[in-house]
């Protein structure tokens, strides 16, 4: 799993590459929390390169969402692969997160 960030307007775009499972969700959690601690309140998680997510990974998404809501910030997800989208749908997470098809849509 790799996380690369760059700033675009009000948003920090974080691109996830690889898989998030029980072996590395901690890593993902630390990295995304680092971004928030630097003062970023509006984050777009670009999931184009995410090819697997376990329930542990979903939990980190939830924690991030809760944290940003507490800071009155925003978490947008975009560019999900169909398999990932299916997991979000099945688990009901699609209704918790704001999910966009493209990064441009997520930026608006």
């Amino acid at each position: 799993m790799e996380l690369t960030t760059n700033k675009k307007g009000d948003f920090t775009i974080a691109e996830i590459n690889g898989r998030i499972d029980t072996t590395n969700y901690n890593e993902f959690e630390t990295q995304i929390m680092d971004v928030i601690e630097k003062g970023e309140k509006n984050i777009i998680l670009n999931c184009e390169g995410l090819n697997y997510i376990s329930s542990s990974g979903l939990r980190v998404f939830l924690i991030t969402q809760k944290k940003l809501m507490g800071l009155k910030g925003k978490l947008h997800l975009c560019n999900m692969q169909p398999a990932i989208k299916e997991i979000f749908d099945m688990s009901g997470f699609s209704s918790i997160f704001k999910i966009f098809n493209t990064e441009e849509e997520a930026l608006e």
Partner: protein
């Protein structure tokens, strides 16, 4: 090397030291032998030449003095040649004055003194101490044809005869020196006769016989025609020539030497006679054309050297034996602690870390080894102590986890078939945690005589945290469900209880259903769980529709939806957690929804146990020994219809 390497270190060291010493000694001995041999050879040859030279000088001196005597008397005889009667007096005088001369004759040519007759030859010889004078010539002894007369007369030169045995006087070995003398007739010199002296060769033999060189070396004189005049072997004196001897001994070298001698050459040569290596030094006696030879054995020349070498070798062998013994003792003494160290290390390996080490008093490599051993002992003791502590701590945790697993498994119903008295329904379930304890759960129970409640859930994450959350969920379910007929109410209740103070944002995907066994009517709620599969009586199978409800434990007061459907006779339900569909093989390929439903369709069985087992087997085939990464949970229910 094979044999040596099996021996002790001491033996090996001794072997190498000894081998080196032997090599050194061999080289030294060879060099010593080579140079000594050369030196001895030079000395011996020098000595032999000197002896030859000296002996020749000594013998020649006698012969030359004889020649001189005769020369002087010739002059006297020639001067007084007219006085025939004084001739006998001369012969007596010569013998009187020269004790080495044993006979003297003045032999005139035939009819020189007509008054004296055809023969006239006064002759005086020694008979013991007396001098006896007589006339030599007569009819029987016609001296004119004798060698001693004829040769010098013909050659008009002095002549030394070949040695001979005197038959008349005492059987002694003799030689005769003959010299012509002349008369003067009107100024013309004319041969008048031959004057001779007989010389005993005893003195000559004495000189030559006194020569000794090495053990058996000797000197010998060989006459002009090769006859042995002197020789240590008296049998061959005058009986053999060097040529006959060479033929007898089959020694061509000796024959060649004989020829050289006849040619009056000086030489120093090696020759093999009778199998012996001999060295011959020879030199002619110029007066008589005889040859003196000094003969010695080459073997004897080297004998002292051989003797010294043998003594040396003997000393070396004794010395080597002593050295081997002493070196072995020293090395054994020096390395004795090694055996103790070996014993100590075996004891240490057997676990006795306090074993006693050998006491080393020297400050050398042994001391270093000793210190290293002490260091190893203390380190090992420390290490083993730590290991024991960590092992016991680990064992404690493991045993606690084992107990936790037993507790967790005890919370799940595991008696199948669970409701043997309820013919409308049959059910089978299994749960296989990835670690000792897991976050999956299933449960089923009769709410009353006609309602079966069943549930399956999956806590986010794994291990101890997940198992605690699972235990709480299961406990809440059992306390909430019996009072409720609505699945959404049950889930709402669970959600509210779990969401309060859920700091770590753990959640449970959860599916719960309640079946009315009389009617087949089933109401259910899906809180973010994988949709179950329904298998119809005709084996047509499909997933339940996806609801948008979120897992429980996330947001308080979330309102979950409830759905209903009616089961027909022999409809089957298959519930599972994502551990099944997301089971991975080595290539990280998921088992997947597609493969699951394909497998279910292929099973086509009415037995829930068979359905669960066959899916489990198919998952195992897919995973192919890859490590199980998530808890595996399955439940299968068959509704057999209402039995009136």
């Amino acid at each position: 090397m094979e044999i040596i390497s099996k021996k002790s270190l001491a033996s090996r060291i001794v072997f190498y030291v000894a081998a080196f010493c032997v090599l050194l000694f061999l080289i030294s001995l060879s060099v010593f032998y080579f140079f000594s041999k050369k030196s001895i050879e030079e000395k011996t040859i020098e000595n032999a030449l000197e002896i030859t030279q000296n002996t020749v000088l000594k013998t020649e001196q006698v012969l030359i003095s004889s020649e001189k005597i005769l020369n002087n008397y010739r002059w006297l005889i020639e001067k007084n040649i007219a006085y025939a009667d004084s001739m006998e007096a001369y012969t007596r005088r010569i013998l009187q004055m020269n004790p080495e001369i044993i006979g003297c004759a003045i032999a005139f040519k035939p009819d020189f003194f007509p008054e004296k007759g055809y023969y006239f030859s006064p002759f005086t010889y020694r008979n013991k101490d007396l001098l006896v004078s007589t006339q030599l010539g007569n009819e029987e002894y016609d001296y004119f044809v004798m060698d001693w007369y004829q040769i010098p007369a013909t050659l008009e030169k002095p002549y030394w005869s070949e040695p001979y045995y005197d038959t008349g006087g005492g059987n002694a070995l003799m030689t005769t020196y003959s010299m012509p003398f002349y008369s003067s007739n009107n100024g013309d010199k004319e041969l008048a006769g031959i004057i001779t002296i007989d010389l005993s060769l005893e003195w000559f033999t004495d000189i030559v016989s006194s020569v000794k060189i090495l053990e058996t070396g000797y000197a010998s004189v060989i006459s002009r025609n090769g006859t042995f005049v002197t020789h240590p072997n008296t049998d061959i004196i005058m009986n053999q020539t060097i040529f006959s001897f060479a033929a007898e001994m089959q020694s061509p070298g000796l024959r060649q030497i004989g020829r050289n001698m006849q040619a009056g050459k000086t030489g120093f040569e090696d020759v093999v006679v009778n199998g012996r290596d001999l060295i011959v030094s020879y030199k002619p006696l110029l007066t008589s054309n005889w040859t003196l030879a000094v003969v010695f054995s080459r073997d004897e020349m080297y004998a002292p050297l051989r003797q010294i070498s043998l003594v040396l070798i003997f000393i070396i062998v004794i010395g080597m034996a002593l050295m081997v013994f002493i070196v072995k003792k020293i090395v054994e003494q020096q390395i004795a602690p090694l055996k103790c160290f070996a014993r100590s290390s075996i004891e240490i390996a057997e676990g006795n870390f306090n074993t006693e080490l050998p006491d080393i008093k020297t400050e050398d490599e042994m001391k270093e080894l000793h210190n290293a051993f002490v260091h190893m002992q203390t380190d090992l003791k420390k290490y083993i102590k730590n290991l024991k502590e960590t092992t016991s701590a680990k064992e404690k945790i493991e045993s606690e986890l084992r107990i936790a697993r037993e507790i967790q498994m005890g919370m799940i119903p595991k008696i199948f078939p669970p409701f043997p008295d309820t013919p409308e329904i049959d059910l089978y379930a299994m749960l296989e945690p990835a670690k000792e304890v897991g976050g999956d759960l299933y449960d089923f129970f009769m709410i009353d005589d006609t309602h079966l409640c069943y549930a399956i859930g999956d806590v986010s994450g794994k291990g101890v945290p997940a198992s605690l959350f699972m235990a709480v969920t299961r406990t809440l379910l059992r306390s909430v469900a019996p009072k409720q007929r609505s699945t959404s109410e049950i889930v709402n209740n669970l959600n509210n209880s779990l969401a309060i103070g859920n700091e770590s944002s753990m959640f449970v995907t959860f599916f719960i259903g309640i079946i009315n066994l009389k009617t087949g009517e089933m109401n259910y709620t899906n809180a973010g769980h994988n949709p179950p599969i329904i298998i119809h009586a005709d084996n047509k199978s499909e997933f339940f529709e996806i609801t948008q409800d979120i897992p429980i434990g996330l947001f308080e007061n979330y309102d979950y939806t409830e759905k209903t459907r009616v089961l027909s006779e022999n409809d089957r339900l298959f519930l599972y957690t994502d551990g099944i569909t997301e089971a991975e093989n080595w290539d990280e390929e998921l088992y997947s929804d597609e493969r699951l439903i394909k497998c279910i369709r292929a099973i086509n069985s009415l037995d829930p146990t068979e359905i669960v087992m066959k899916v489990a087997r198919d998952v195992v085939v897919h995973v192919n020994d890859c490590q199980q990464s998530d808890d595996l949970t399955m439940m299968s229910i068959i509704y057999k219809g209402s039995k009136k």
